[in-house]
């Protein structure tokens, strides 16, 4: 069974749901602590949401220097699949694994609602279970979710098909090109602001469709699809 590490920093909130999503998808979640000096043999890593280190300085700015992140950065450069959700996306941008940054929402409000998103790229390590152009509903809950980057960077992301998720039915934070999630050049590292781990079961979330990210990576690790 594939092992998926879930990192907990001081201030992380969504590690429990991320681990539950991995288990629900048929994988074995492995808890990784921010101070860990090894990755415990995991096959993929999730950097979950929350407020790592209280979001002091900037969201994700201190977490990127945590000992475990040094290992994740090195492993990701070698092809390890990594998923950053919300604060995890901010951490991956600060770490330089993904381009751009997440700035304060254009409306200045903390948004917390069920959000429709469209899947634009189904060839990443985390999205092969989806249909291109398919839409599903997941919670979004953040105040620093506005994706920004140099225009040339955004143009490059668009040209290379590295916009993975786009907001549909309204942009909650003013992100450039309605971007909700992007991937690395090798399509192994994905970051998104909305929370698929909160939408894996209609009993506890707005839909069960978020599970696709977790089943996708397990397929990928088992050599299926992708």
């Amino acid at each position: 069974m594939s092992k998926v590490g879930v990192i907990t920093f001081p201030g992380t909130l969504d590690d429990g749901d991320a681990a539950r999503a991995v288990r629900h998808a048929g994988g074995e979640p492995v808890a990784l602590w921010h101070a860990d000096a090894d990755l415990h043999g995991v096959d993929a890593v999730i950097v979950p949401g929350g407020f790592s280190y209280g979001d002091y300085l900037r969201a994700g700015a201190i977490a990127r220097f945590a000992p475990v992140m040094g290992l994740v950065i090195e492993a990701a450069q070698g092809g390890l699949p990594v998923l950053g959700i919300c604060n995890g996306f901010q951490v991956l941008c600060e770490a330089g694994l993904l381009p751009g940054a997440l700035a304060r929402n254009a409306g200045l409000h903390f948004v917390c609602h069920d959000q429709r998103i469209r899947v634009e790229n189904v060839q990443t390590a985390w999205t092969t279970r989806y249909w291109a152009g398919g839409e599903f509903v997941v919670p979004v809950k953040s105040i620093e979710g506005r994706f920004v980057a140099e225009k040339s960077t955004v143009d490059e992301l668009e040209r290379d098909g590295r916009v993975v998720f786009r907001y549909a039915g309204g942009n909650p934070n003013g992100s450039m090109n309605d971007i909700a999630g992007i991937c690395s050049a090798n399509r192994r590292v994905v970051g998104l602001m909305p929370h698929p781990e909160h939408a894996i079961d209609p009993l506890t979330g707005p839909s069960g469709d978020g599970i696709g990210l977790f089943t996708s990576v397990l397929d990928n690790l088992a050599g299926v699809g992708g």
């Binding site: 300085l57 751009g100 940054a101 200045l108």
Partner: protein, 71 residues
């Protein structure tokens, strides 16, 4: 400071509040951060610039200026 091309909604909110408080003539407000570091003489300007660029600011969205002042 947020780069000029980066939308600064916090600065805009401050700018909109000023006329309501009776302060006219302010055409724009940008909101940034200010850090005060106490350092000894061994810390040179290059090191301060590295700290500013690599940690205190995010160069994707922010510019920075380093000023050295005597205590």
């Amino acid at each position: 400071m947020p780069k000029p091309e980066i939308l600064d909604p916090q600065g805009q909110a401050v700018a909109r509040a000023l006329p309501r408080l009776g302060f006219e003539g302010v055409s724009d407000v940008r909101q940034g951060k200010h850090f005060v570091l106490e350092v000894d003489d061994s810390v040179d300007d290059d090191t301060l610039a590295k700290i500013a660029e690599g940690f205190l600011s995010n160069p994707v969205i922010e510019d920075f200026v380093v000023r050295r002042a005597d205590a």
